[in-house]
């Protein structure tokens, strides 16, 4: 689904027009880089904020350098291509759509001066550096308040801006480890399986988006700006679920052989509840039986007669025979096409679904196609590419997808001349000096 929110060929015209959406009129000096910060401010740009991404040419943002190329062979995440084109990276395109892009050398006094003049035109400043980096450039909350009274200063970090570990280095996987999210994921009696992606880069980003929106709401109602401090580790802990209460209230110790429980649930005692092999390589089907009738419906499909086995008639009986049930269910699923079997089960009222991979989501999922989840924008270097949409559908507003990610420094002239108000000669000087 190509979502064209603008007439007149926005795909070829990359110049800035007026933005629509609830955040139109909000200008953001966005110092974010890497994953968490860029994903957090992406949402602001999607809904109309003028997000000005500030980059340095001396240290190219990692998502620009990672080899997510349409025409390249698939390299492992973390492998970087030497002397790569910073405008070719697909991950950056994914993270930075709908943003303006400028370059400033913040290591130079002239660069910091330009940054201050830019900040003074913005009502929101965002950053996800290690604590202390913004301060070294002089960008304390106090200074930002002088530059832009009522400013919202969003600080996104792994551990937060106080406490003995605030300078600890983190990224998604270590946040998942330290917050407990890795430990609670895995089969019993084995090492944790944890996470196969940086879930906490995403969730921390989304919580940072939410924190910014709440701060904006509060400013409208009270006039007060704020310094916002979101620690990814704390977000992770807050996502652990009822096990936190069980440990605190019942004194449960989770280290031992029985925890975590893999794909089985402890509460409610659902069985069979698991991920079962289907026909084909790496094909799986998830089945979650919560009710007796759901079991009867599943059992009817299986030939060997589990439907009549009285031991499986009750939830308690099934839960006690989970190992045996898993074998019975697997012996059936392994002969089935995952999507077809899931469809059959769903028609019978049994919660079930194929384990879908990235290809399945983008190419084959009829519900995502119906919702228009993936949309397309053109990019001068990358060409047309699909983007992950916002999973929110409003009755009176929609995301304003006006442009793919900025080329490095693409909007320097517009931002520094039109917004900051640099004279042509001053602008040219800064270019010559390598400041912007």
């Amino acid at each position: 689904v190509i979502e064209m929110t603008r007439p007149n060929g926005a795909q070829s015209d990359r110049s800035v027009g007026s933005r629509t959406g609830p955040l139109s009129g909000v200008r953001v000096a966005d110092f974010c880089w890497m994953g968490v910060g860029s994903v957090a401010t992406r949402l602001l740009g999607d809904f109309g904020a003028e997000v000005i991404k500030i980059e340095t040419r001396k240290r190219i943002d990692t998502p620009r350098r990672l080899p997510f190329y349409k025409d390249g062979s698939a390299l492992t995440y973390g492998q970087e291509v030497i002397d790569c084109d910073p405008n070719k990276g697909g991950l950056f395109n994914n993270y930075c759509r709908n943003k303006l892009g400028v370059t400033i050398d913040l290591g130079s006094p002239a660069g910091r001066d330009v940054a201050e003049r830019l900040i003074s035109t913005c009502s929101v400043v965002t950053e996800n550096f290690a604590p202390g980096v913004m301060e070294r450039w002089g960008f304390t909350y106090e200074r930002l308040q002088e530059l832009s009274p009522g400013v919202i200063y969003a600080r996104m970090s792994g551990y937060g801006h106080s406490g003995p570990h605030q300078h600890y280095r983190s990224y998604g996987p270590t946040v998942q480890a330290v917050s407990g999210l890795s430990f609670v994921s895995g089969l019993p009696k084995r090492e944790p399986s944890g996470w196969g992606f940086s879930y906490m880069d995403n969730q921390a980003a989304f919580y940072n988006s939410l924190a910014l929106l709440v701060a904006l709401l509060r400013r409208t109602r009270t006039g007060a700006g704020a310094e916002v401090d979101v620690s990814s580790v704390e977000v992770g802990v807050s996502l652990l679920g009822p096990i936190l209460e069980e440990v605190a209230t019942n004194g449960r110790r989770t280290r031992g052989d029985a925890y975590p429980t893999g794909n089985r649930l402890e509460w409610p005692q659902a069985a069979p509840h698991g991920v079962y092999p289907a026909a084909g390589e790496d094909q799986w089907i998830a089945i979650a039986v919560f009710e007796d009738e759901q079991w009867r419906q599943l059992a009817e499909l299986i030939n060997d007669g589990p439907a009549t086995d009285e031991r499986f008639a009750t939830a308690a009986g099934r839960f006690g025979a989970h190992d045996e049930l898993d074998q019975i269910v697997s012996a059936w699923t392994v002969t089935q096409n995952a999507a077809d079997a899931a469809e059959t089960l769903q028609r019978r009222g049994v919660p079930a679904g194929r384990v879908q991979n990235g290809r399945d989501l983008v190419e084959d999922d009829p519900q995502l196609a119906h919702l228009g989840t993936f949309f397309e924008l053109d990019h001068p270097v990358i060409g047309p590419a699909k983007f992950e949409g916002v999973p929110l559908h409003f009755s009176r507003m929609r995301p304003d997808h006006w442009r793919s990610a900025p080329l490095l420094g693409e909007d320097n002239e517009y931002v520094f001349k039109q917004i900051v108000g640099l004279a042509d000669a001053e602008y040219d000087d800064l270019v010559t000096q390598g400041v912007i």
Partner: protein, 405 residues
């Protein structure tokens, strides 16, 4: 211009009515209550389903409360209203006249069964924001499919990348109801965007939040890996699924725990940090020899280096390795169990856990991770007893509480 209201909680004065059949909806209400909103949970006469799901306090069910319910419903009020009785919808309408948000979390079938029509409710209350979390969306080919946390994570994509190197094992669901949590986060964002819009336009609106779609945009790299190089990534134990295998990142420690660290061989700085750490423990072996200064040589001898590192961590306790490594500037993590979080000095110094009397005793509960300096956080209140606020909010008549039947 700043007024004294700035010292109030960020969402002070916002009123939310929550009708939620799953943890996604309940989590949104909790998040908003933590930020200062008043959240009224509408429950059927028998109580919300989550009250009957364990674990239970002191490992015994009713009358002991469900800790599942406690977790997702801290700080809310509870009013009993039997919505299967159509005449009681007038009571709901009365409650919605001064509400800012109606939060629904249920399937299209259940909404129809309860007589809840989001469009009609939004139309009847011009300033109301009606947020509706559904498993797959209000319409479309899968609208009436059933879900669960496991099924949601499977269809939505995150599950495919989680599990073990051994692919004879199935993908493994990560813990903590993250399918529901993903929908909750986006629903809260949608509500906040609609509130911001209402400040400009004076009008509320409906916002739909399909959990399936929230998960499909929450795979991090699996979708970009398909969109760009068109590759399906492969699961690996407790580390990123990748196009091709990478080295293990989980290291067992002397105390039977684990640390997480990725050995970066290409860059000089992290390499030097690791080698100096090993040398201090007398375990650098020959890694300080000149030939290891060549990144290509390090790459060629990867498994040799990895073996040395495995031995090194086996003589260290996990916390020791975590703090020593971090002190040296290495991004290393310790795999904490839930009970260990309450002893973490960093979380303690940030006062992240708050001791409150939750009805079963005084216990620590996590605060909101959204910290807005200057806005106060009220002490969290316990999860409500069933119908504790019915009389106050709905009057005694026509609500479906047992006393009026």
């Amino acid at each position: 211009m700043t007024d004294t209201n700035a010292e109030l909680p960020a969402l002070d004065g916002i009123r939310v009515v929550e009708i939620a059949n799953d943890p996604a909806g309940e989590m949104v209400g909790k998040l908003m209550a933590q930020l200062g909103a008043t959240v009224v949970k509408i429950e059927p006469p028998e109580g919300a389903p989550s009250r009957r799901v364990g674990p239970f306090a002191h490992n015994r069910a009713a009358p002991n409360p469900s800790l599942n319910f406690t977790h997702y419903n801290l700080g809310k009020q509870s009013a009993v209203l039997d919505l299967t009785e159509q005449e009681r919808h007038a009571r709901l309408a009365a409650l919605l006249t001064d509400a800012d948000v109606l939060l629904l979390a249920m399937t299209p079938h259940d909404a129809a069964h309860a007589g809840l029509d989001p469009d009609a409710l939004a139309a009847a209350h011009d300033r109301l924001i009606v947020a509706w979390i559904t498993p797959f969306g209000p319409d479309g080919p899968w609208a009436n499919r059933l879900t669960s946390d496991l099924v949601g994570l499977a269809l939505g994509g995150p599950l495919h990348t989680c599990g073990y190197d051994d692919h004879s094992l199935p993908p493994i669901r990560p813990g903590g109801n993250q399918g529901y949590q993903s929908a909750a986060t986006f629903a809260a964002i949608g509500i906040a965007l609609a509130l911001i819009d209402r400040d400009k336009t004076g009008r509320g609106q409906r916002v739909d939040v399909p959990m399936h779609e929230c998960l499909a945009v929450n795979t991090e790299l699996a979708v970009p890996y398909w969109i760009y190089p068109r590759v399906v990534v492969k699961r690996q134990t407790c580390r990123h699924a990748q196009p091709s295998p990478t080295a293990p990142a989980l290291f067992p420690t002397a105390d039977g725990r684990f640390v997480y660290i990725v050995l970066v061989l290409a860059d000089k700085k992290p390499w030097d940090l690791v080698v100096s750490w090993l040398a201090e423990a007398g375990m650098a072996v020959d890694l300080q020899d000149d030939r290891f200064s060549d990144p290509q040589y390090r790459q060629d001898n990867f498994s040799y280096i990895q073996n040395i590192l495995e031995c090194f961590f086996l003589i260290k306790n996990a916390d020791e390795a975590y703090h020593e490594g971090q002190a040296r500037g290495l991004p290393i993590g310790v795999l904490r169990s839930p009970e260990e979080l309450y002893e973490d000095e960093h979380l303690a110094s940030r006062d992240f856990f708050e001791e409150i009397d939750d009805g079963t005793g005084t216990h620590p509960h996590a605060r909101s991770p959204i910290r807005i300096a200057g806005s106060a956080a009220r002490p969290q209140r316990p999860a409500p007893l069933l119908g504790a606020h019915t009389a106050e909010l709905l009057g005694r008549a026509s609500t479906g509480v047992r006393s009026d039947v």
